[in-house]
Structures are given as structure tokens and as C-alpha cells.
């Protein structure tokens, strides 16, 4: 018997939960405190925004909302490692990535407030919109990456998937395609431990989810997804490699979903409180703040100022969201095709006519 191939999966962490640098090397970003501070601010902004969105939903001012609580490091780490011309293919809770890339909080609220205009956002116009069918965005990212490769553009795509989504064929097919075509892309498996009520261990008996990338022929690693420095550094490294024509990488970022799956979910039905309490010890914001404070880069006063700034900016976003212009009924027809087909034009005219007729249930 001979061994024809052998593999290993490395786990990378630069910042321990108590905020100390660990590991064999120090990533470049670790000494760029201005950069870290700006990313830290976005992480906090994401969390303040998230809490506000949940409270809006609870008071009937927003539809179902998918919280990003606990994912701030992995999301902001992805966003900060990407370049503007790269393409991001999200699922539906990666607000930290999108805020870094210029999507407005008011636009995120607009989307979850039931208004498609939220997906016509201020972020890069080539970025994909929120993608609800699990894992289908992975192949879109692969297609976009193939487009860049064919046109010889130095651009990459990043697509995300959860631990649950890593069980889907679309994810595996996209990995396989990225390998077969040597595509400029990065897959990030955001393993937050739970796919609604199904824990990670029920998705696969594999030791890691990263190893699914190895099966497809891609270099694959695990990072501590609560460690901003590790996420940023490893994704940037993978993107540099992809941009250089050296192909795709799979990165499994281990984090924890501190909130419910969405506002329509109640995790206390299936998840022990002790597990959540324990996970809070490893959460991403505490450790990066500790790191900044230990290096005399952050003070209580700065923290207070930041909290005030976040509260103000989030309030402004809510006001923008709530003062969005009324959505005309015609809007549901006008983007079906580049040019409205004849029969659909008739239906549009009918729907519009109801708007002037309160007897038929239309709105004035």
C-alpha cells in the first residue's frame, strides 16, 4: 500500500480571547492601529445597528430580520480585506461586510422592511444582493470569477456560506468549479455552530468543514472567526493569491451565532443557555477592544464617544428608512423585463387603476 495523497487543515488564530497576540507570527495588520480602530468602530456600529433592527422588528416597524450578533469580526474582516472592484456574494446576514463596502444601514432596513429598493444599494454596483436560497450564491460568485478570468481583470469574488449551507450541493459544485477553472475567488464558510436549530455536528461527521474544500482540490484552512486579525489577514492573503492567478481558497471561520436565527426564531427552544453564555466569553468585540486598550490605543472616553456616534448614526439611518418615499404599485411590474410585455402592461394599468379606487381596496 502507498499513500497517494495526504492532507491537513491548519487552524489560525492571532488574537486570543483575552486579546493577546498568539501564534508563530504577527500579521501586518496587528501593528496598524489606525486601521484596526476603524474596523473596530465598524464592528461596534454593526452591533448597535443589529440591536436596533431587532427592536424595530419587535415593535412592528420592520419585517423578519436576520441578526448578525457575534459575527462582527468575520464580517468586517472579509469586507476590509476586499477591494472595491471585487465582488461580494452574501447570504443574508453579512451586514459588517456590506457596511465596509458602502451599503447604507438605511438600505439594509429598507430590504428587511419589505422594499426591493434596498437591494439597489449604495455599495459596489457589481456586488450581489442578499441571497435567500441557501448556497446558490456560491455558484454566482464562481460565474463572476470566471467572467473576470476570461476578461483578464485583476478582480476576485468572495462568497459566504454557513455551516448548514456547506452541506448543500451548490456549495460543493462551486468549489469544484473554482478548482477546475482555477478561479480568482475565496469561499468563506461562516461556521456559527447552528443552522436554525440543527447544530454543526449534525451537518457532517467530518472533523472540519474546511476539508470539503480539500476534496474539491482547493487549499483550505480554519481561522478563528472571532479574531478580526486572523480573518482579515487570511482572507487578504487568499485574495492576493487569487488575484495573482493562483486560484481559490476555502476558509472556514469558526464563530458563534449569539442571537436567534432570525426574529422569527426562538433559539431557547433548542439551545441551552449555558452554551450561549459560554460563547460570549469568546465573542469578537471584547478581544479586539482589549488588544487596542492593552496597546494604549483606546480609552474609556473614546469608547463612550464611539457609542454616542453609533447611536446617532443608527438613529439617522432609521429616520432615512422611515422617510423613504412611498413605493408605487407599478414598481412590481417595472423591473420584470427590460421592456414590459404587452399583457403585463395591461395588468400594470389595472393595478394602477385600483389605486384610485378605495372601494376596491386600493390605497389613495
Amino acid at each position: 500500500m502507498t499513500t497517494v495523497a495526504s492532507f491537513n487543515v491548519k487552524y489560525i488564530q492571532y488574537l486570543s480571547p483575552s486579546g493577546e497576540l498568539v501564534g508563530d507570527s504577527v500579521p501586518d495588520i496587528a501593528k496598524n492601529f489606525d486601521h484596526i480602530k476603524s474596523l473596530y468602530e465598524t464592528m461596534v456600529m454593526t452591533r448597535v445597528f443589529d440591536a436596533k433592527a431587532i427592536s424595530l422588528q419587535r415593535t412592528g416597524k420592520l419585517g423578519t430580520y436576520a441578526s448578525s450578533l457575534g459575527h462582527e469580526a468575520v464580517h468586517v474582516g472579509i469586507g476590509s480585506a476586499m477591494q472595491y472592484e471585487d465582488v461580494f456574494a452574501p447570504s443574508y446576514r453579512e451586514y459588517g461586510v456590506q457596511l465596509v463596502r458602502g451599503v447604507k444601514m438605511s438600505e439594509i432596513l429598507l430590504y428587511w422592511g419589505g422594499d426591493e429598493r434596498g437591494s439597489n444599494f449604495s455599495g459596489p454596483p457589481h456586488d450581489f444582493a442578499w441571497c435567500v436560497p441557501i448556497a446558490t450564491q456560491n455558484t454566482h460568485a464562481a460565474g463572476a470569477a470566471l467572467a473576470f478570468k476570461l476578461r483578464k481583470e485583476a478582480r476576485c469574488t468572495v462568497s459566504v456560506i454557513g455551516d448548514g449551507g456547506s452541506s448543500k450541493g451548490d456549495f460543493l459544485e462551486a468549489i469544484n468549479a473554482a478548482s477546475a477553472f482555477k478561479l480568482p475567488m475565496v469561499f468563506v464558510i461562516i461556521n456559527n455552530g447552528w443552522a436554525i436549530s440543527v447544530p454543526r455536528k449534525k451537518q457532517s461527521s467530518g472533523q472540519t468543514l474546511a476539508q470539503k474544500g480539500i476534496a474539491g482540490g482547493l487549499p483550505s484552512i480554519q481561522v478563528d472567526g472571532n479574531d478580526l486579525l486572523a480573518v482579515h489577514h487570511e482572507i487578504k492573503k487568499a485574495l492576493d493569491k487569487a488575484r495573482n492567478g493562483e486560484g481559490a481558497t476555502v476558509i472556514e471561520a469558526i464563530t458563534y451565532r449569539l442571537g436567534d436565527h432570525t426574529t422569527a426564531d426562538d433559539a431557547s427552544r433548542y439551545r441551552p443557555d449555558e452554551e450561549v453564555e459560554n460563547a460570549k466569553r469568546f465573542e469578537p468585540i471584547l478581544r479586539i477592544r482589549q488588544y487596542l486598550m492593552d496597546n494604549n490605543q483606546w480609552s474609556v472616553q473614546q469608547e463612550n464617544q464611539l457609542m454616542d456616534k453609533c447611536a446617532l448614526r443608527v438613529e439617522q439611518a432609521v429616520k432615512e428608512y422611515q422617510s423613504a418615499s412611498k413605493l408605487p404599485v407599478t414598481d412590481m411590474f417595472d423591473y420584470m423585463y427590460a421592456e414590459l410585455p404587452h399583457d403585463l402592461a395591461e395588468q400594470r394599468a389595472f393595478a394602477l387603476s385600483l389605486e384610485d379606487n378605495t372601494v376596491n381596496g386600493g390605497e389613495k
Binding site: 465582488v87 456574494a89 426591493e116 429598493r117 437591494s119 439597489n120 444599494f121 454596483p125 457589481h126 450581489f128 444582493a129 441571497c131 436560497p133 446558490t136 456560491n138 455558484t139 454566482h140 460568485a141 464562481a142 460565474g143 463572476a144 470569477a145 470566471l146 467572467a147 473576470f148 476570461l150 469574488t157 450541493g169 451548490d170 459544485e173 462551486a174 469544484n176 468549479a177 477546475a180 412590481m332 423591473y335 420584470m336 423585463y337 427590460a338 410585455p341 404587452h342 399583457d343 403585463l344
Partner: protein, 326 residues
């Protein structure tokens, strides 16, 4: 100008667009050096290279998903689903993304893509190779579903489909891929989408059909002429969005209509046309509208496939029945 079959016309249209639009890319299983299992992409990889005519791994969902991704970033991909019966893994990508991208993003991202698929029965193929499931896609807002029925229309409609700014499912009736030859001029002239073609003028009855059934319908019209019945034949071509106006206009003249389709009848495109006639053409009708369809059964393997498919005889039976009504 050349005398070519329908499958050669498909190939000619692809070649024309690959030549004239650098954003056009052909992809799919076996579309490269092999030229496709029906030879629809024959010679294209050799002519345009493997960056324009791309053999993909064998994964249909991936092909459709990547096609969506490529289209959103400015390419005009033309993907091949090897047989329509294997399109189901693509279904989610077509219905949930290709058809919705423009609307979802309020026009920020669009999907100017084509997915081509050979379909229909009559060539003694194995299971899953013979179904006509156009209505499953016709039910999806945001898609175009286009079905050619001759070399000329395959050439002109495929050009239009590739140039269309929205996603098009281009279903090629494989039974008539090599049925006959027509003079097709490779002048890049497209034919209009969303419009029926009137193939034969008549006054007594309107026969509405598309795809491979155009053949049987025209034969039936010939036989009816010998009985002194003048049949108008309409090829729907784009089954979604549907050009009801042309059909209504014809029925206004003839007062009678038979719809002929290879698909199962229940919830079919033929049913939609019949409903459109009931809604907007009832007062033009002097006889009930008849549908001549496949039976509402699983498409049988090839020992019974001929019995499943509408025949000239079945079309004539339906016509003669409603010609009795006056």
C-alpha cells in the same frame, strides 16, 4: 446562403454571435471539442477557442448558477442543458435567480443569458430525454421561453434570444433538428421575440401550435385543404410572454380553434391559450376550443411514445369534431 438543418442553424447563430460580440460565451457539458451531443456547437471550440466555448464539469446547478454570475458581470453566456430532462438541478437557479435578478435589484444587476435545451419526444431516447415541460418555465414571471420550429426561425430567434437583455430559455425540439433543410442567410438578422408567426393563412379554423408539432399541424392543414377546410396555422414561438393578440385576431376571423402541443395537457401552455380565448375571444367562437396534447401521463419509454404524441390523425379528429358545430 446555405441549405441547412435546424441544428446547423443553431450552430450558425451561435457562431455569428461569438464572432460579432466578444461578450458572448458558450458553456456546458460536452459543448467544446465534441461539439455537443447533438452537434449544436460543432466546430465552435476549434474556431473560437476554449475561452469562448467552455467545457464545464458535469454539474447542472453549477452551470446555471455560473451562467447567472457571468451574466450579472457583463457577459452574455449561452449555456447548454444537455437535455431538458436534466434541467431540474438548474431549475432553482433559473427560477430563483435568473428570472428575478433585475426585479430583485431594481435593475442594478441583470441576467442577459440564454439556456438552450434540446427537448421533446420522438427519437427513441432513454427515460428523462423526451418530456416537454415548457409550461413549468412559462409559469415563471421574468423569463422568456422561446421554441423554434424551423431552421430559419432557429437562427433568427436564437440571435434575438442572445441579444435580449433578459434571460431566455431556448428550447429546441430535437425531433426536428434534422427534419428538413432551409436556405438560411447568415446576415445576423434576428426575428422578433414575443410574437407568433402565421405559417399558413386560412378562414375556417385556427390551428395554434409550436415546436415539433408544427410539422404534424401543417400536414393536418394540407389534408384539411383537400376536404375543403381552410386552416390558419400559427406558430406561437415565444410561449412566454404569450402573444395572445395574434391568436385572438385569427380566431376572430375563423371562429374556431384547436391547440396542438406535445406537452401533457394539465396546466399547460395550451391551457393558458384556451383560457385566453375564453376570456377575450368567447364571442368570436362558434365552436368549443379543443386541445390536442400528450396524455396526462409520464412520458412513456419509446415503445409507446408514438401513441403518446399527438398525431395528424388526432389533430384531424379534433378539427372535424368542431367543424360539425355551426
Amino acid at each position: 446562403m446555405s441549405n441547412i438543418t435546424m441544428v446547423e442553424a443553431v450552430s450558425l447563430a451561435l457562431s455569428h454571435e461569438l464572432e460579432n460580440d466578444k461578450d458572448v460565451v458558450v458553456l456546458g457539458e460536452d459543448v467544446g471539442i465534441n461539439g455537443g451531443v447533438f452537434r449544436a456547437t460543432s466546430g465552435l471550440a476549434q474556431k473560437f477557442g476554449e475561452n469562448r466555448v467552455i467545457d464545464t464539469p458535469l454539474a447542472e446547478a453549477m452551470i446555471a448558477g455560473m451562467t447567472v454570475g457571468m451574466a450579472t458581470q457583463g457577459l452574455k453566456p449561452v449555456a447548454e442543458a444537455q437535455f431538458l430532462g436534466f434541467i431540474f438541478p438548474m431549475f432553482e437557479q433559473i427560477v430563483c435567480h435568473a428570472a428575478r435578478m433585475r426585479n430583485r435589484t431594481r435593475g442594478r444587476l441583470t441576467c442577459p443569458l440564454v439556456i438552450r435545451a434540446p427537448f421533446g419526444g420522438g427519437i427513441h431516447a432513454p427515460e428523462h430525454h423526451s418530456e416537454s415541460i415548457e409550461s413549468m418555465f412559462a409559469h415563471t414571471p421574468g423569463l422568456r421561453v422561446v421554441i423554434p420550429s424551423s431552421p430559419t426561425r432557429a437562427y433568427g430567434l436564437l440571435l434575438a434570444a442572445i441579444r435580449d437583455p433578459d434571460p431566455v430559455l431556448f428550447l429546441e425540439p430535437k425531433r426536428i433538428y434534422r427534419l428538413n433543410k432551409e436556405e438560411v442567410i447568415d446576415d445576423g438578422e434576428e426575428l422578433p421575440l414575443d410574437m407568433c408567426f402565421e405559417l399558413r393563412e386560412g378562414n375556417d379554423i385556427t390551428l395554434v401550435t409550436w415546436g415539433s408539432m408544427v410539422k404534424e399541424t401543417l400536414e393536418a392543414a394540407d389534408q384539411l385543404a383537400t376536404q375543403g377546410i381552410s386552416a390558419e396555422v400559427i406558430d406561437v414561438a415565444t410561449v412566454s410572454p404569450l402573444d395572445m393578440d395574434t391568436i385572438l385576431e385569427s380566431v376572430k376571423k375563423t371562429g374556431r380553434c384547436v391547440i396542438i402541443q406535445e406537452a401533457v395537457q394539465h396546466c399547460s401552455v395550451g391551457s393558458e391559450i384556451a383560457a385566453g380565448l375564453a376570456d377575450k375571444g368567447l364571442y368570436s367562437l362558434i365552436a368549443p376550443v379543443k386541445r390536442v396534447s400528450g396524455y396526462d401521463v409520464i412520458m412513456p419509454l419509446f415503445k409507446l411514445e408514438k401513441k403518446y404524441m399527438p398525431s395528424v390523425e388526432r389533430i384531424l379528429m379534433a378539427v372535424n369534431k368542431i367543424m360539425e358545430v355551426s
